[in-house]
């Protein structure tokens, strides 16, 4: 696909919109593996088009190649289908070599995507309300989920947490959640915007203000592991269904390399077994996880 736009949202966070003629069906919660280098370019060999019968020339670039080998798994933040093309949103934070390369990509650049990968958030048929809890770079899949909530006719509220106001990777006016009729509650660790403290606190208050939240609401969470764990505990204590999207380092994203394991409860002798974040997840029922 090609980069349509790549804009800085806040300190260290970018929104990349990719466009292409087609892309397989996707669901909120799924991710793609992005290659952080020019597609088709071989390190050490010239990438310029060669005449028929000609041979690419060695450039010696392999010696100085600073682009990463492996792809980077990033969750989808949105999808927009038109009559002519498919547009995908990716919101990422720059944490290393691969994401730094992404941040330098400009309009028209080609990016190789592998996907869609992983399972998806499950939308409850019976429960009319939903909390979409995102922390930092865990917010993006919640934006995509908000669009699905609107389509399913659910009443959803987004709970967005960040360390500080300048690290919140969403815009507020207009808000990415507002376009789907979803209100957002902001919490920052330092109180520079919204609630001062963790995003799990307003979530607990929201659940406690509701009659029979266990029959009314589903909580979806993605973000730093301590945040997801706090959210999971709040939900389990109230018997509320909670789906969390885990993040793991992975090589392939397709269930082969067996890198991205997480411990889940099982009938096995030791009481647990490993599941793969890439193909069994990234979305898990919070009750099944061993943190």
């Amino acid at each position: 696909m090609n980069v349509l736009s790549n804009v800085r949202l806040c300190r260290g966070h970018y929104l990349m919109r990719l466009g292409g003629r087609e892309f397989p069906p996707t669901l909120p919660g799924q991710f793609v593996q992005l290659q952080c280098r020019v597609p088709g370019e071989q390190p050490g060999w010239s990438a310029v088009e060669v005449a028929p019968g000609d041979w690419p020339k060695p450039t010696g670039r392999e010696l100085t190649d600073a682009e990463p080998l492996l792809r980077r798994p990033l969750s989808l933040a949105g999808r927009y289908d038109t009559e002519f093309d498919v547009e995908l949103d990716i919101i990422y934070s720059v944490v290393g070599t691969g994401t730094a390369w992404l941040a330098r990509a400009g309009q028209g650049d080609e990016i190789s995507l592998l996907g869609p990968l992983g399972n998806a958030f499950a939308i409850s048929e019976s429960k009319p309300r939903a909390a979409l809890v995102g922390g930092g770079v865990g917010i993006p899949p919640m934006i995509y989920l908000a669009s699905a909530m609107q389509a399913a006719g659910k009443r959803a509220v987004a709970f967005c947490g960040a360390r500080s106001a300048d690290m919140l990777p969403i815009t507020l006016t207009p808000s990415q959640f507002g376009q789907f009729g979803v209100d957002s509650v902001i919490a920052t660790d330092d109180g520079s915007l919204g609630w001062k403290g963790f995003v799990s606190e307003p979530l607990a208050a929201w659940l406690d203000a509701m009659d029979a939240p266990d029959r009314q609401a589903v909580v979806y969470a993605c973000g730093p592991e301590p945040m997801m764990r706090a959210v999971a505990e709040i939900c389990i204590a109230r018997n509320v269904e909670c789906q969390v999207s885990l993040e793991r380092h992975m090589a392939c994203g397709m269930g082969t390399c067996q890198s991205c394991v997480c411990k889940t409860k099982s009938d096995a002798e030791q009481g647990w077994s490993y599941k793969l974040c890439c193909t069994d997840g990234p979305v898990f029922n919070a009750r099944d996880l061993i943190w």
């Binding site: 990463p68 190789s112 793991r248 991205c260």
Partner: protein
């Protein structure tokens, strides 16, 4: 001009030399959506042990410059589930299958190899005596010539129809002496190299990145080491004995594959590169054909070991 890409691995005919490196393509089901496995000459499975293994704790991989370190710990479904659930998938491939076998004791290896001799789709055993990531995962057999010879001879006894490929560890002083020992003990082919033992440290926490502390390095970073070892073993052991080498270690593009062919490899396994681009096999195959045409060769076998010094 049609180019003949077929090769012979100890009597098993392959349409082309390309294979999956063990552990990088599972049991063929995972990649079904992403890769055209018909571009392969043979399929090599992830390691199988007698009993299922959970593998090591997270973190299991970390990317390093031009490579990756892994310490998966031979996580696999075990022999019984493999025979029951994975073999039917492999049968659908219509490709020769080589099964990578690992274990803790010689008896474990023998039990798995014997069971696999009854599976028609399996054409060979790749003996893993070189996994660096488990405390007792066979590397003790792979770093000592006498032990390597003993296990090779014991497995060879239970290989009726299956060929025996021994996968060599690069983490030794002299890989050619291990190669000579296993060839003398009955190995039909050699595959090389397994990952290089390595380590990465998080300098902020001052802790190893991998839960297993150490891991095995793969990817483009190790290719020059692998090319050298293939060259060396080809000249000293494999060529004189008439034993084919299946080469692996950083093959990502056609030119990488060509280096190994010239150094003396008959088979070529692609591993880490499949994680990055499951479709890279097609590019490698097409690039080899292009090279052979450009240099006026009609068959890939004409360039095996054609290195000029």
């Amino acid at each position: 001009m049609d180019i003949d890409l077929s090769v012979d691995i100890a009597g098993v005919q392959l349409a082309n030399p390309l294979m999956t490196a063990s552990g990088t393509c599972g049991y063929a089901d995972e990649y079904a959506d992403f890769v055209d496995l018909t571009t392969l000459g043979a399929f090599v499975t992830k390691s199988i042990t007698l009993e299922p293994r959970q593998g090591n704790d997270y973190e299991r991989v970390v990317e390093t410059r031009a490579g990756m370190l892994n310490a998966i710990g031979l996580a696999n479904v075990g022999l019984d589930v493999f025979l029951d659930q994975k073999v039917p998938l492999l049968e659908k491939l219509a490709l020769p299958v080589f099964v990578n076998v690992a274990g803790t004791t010689i008896d474990d290896y023998v039990a798995v190899a014997a069971a696999l001799d009854d599976v028609p789709v399996v054409r060979g055993i790749e003996l893993n005596i070189s996994c660096p990531n488990v405390k007792a995962g066979g590397i003790q057999f792979g770093t000592d010539g006498a032990q390597a010879a003993e296990i090779t001879a014991r497995i060879k006894e239970v290989c009726g129809k299956n060929i025996l490929i021994v996968k060599l560890s690069p983490n030794v002083t002299d890989i050619s002496s291990i190669a000579a020992a296993v060839v003398d003990a009955g190995a039909d082919a050699l595959s090389m190299i397994n990952t290089l033992a390595g380590m990465a440290i998080d300098t902020e926490t001052r802790r190893p990145v991998l839960a297993n502390v150490t891991g095995g390095l793969s990817g483009p970073a190790i290719r020059p080491v692998a090319v050298h070892m293939v060259h060396s073993v080809y000249r000293k052991v494999a060529s004189p004995a008439g034993v084919p080498i299946i080469a692996m270690g950083g093959i990502q593009y056609a030119n990488d594959a060509l280096e190994f062919l010239l150094a003396g490899a008959t088979g070529l396994a692609v591993g880490t590169a499949l994680f990055v681009d499951p479709a890279c096999l097609t590019g490698i195959r097409d690039g080899i054909v292009e090279y052979l045409q450009r240099h006026g060769h009609g068959a890939i076998t004409e360039i095996i070991g054609a290195l000029e010094i």
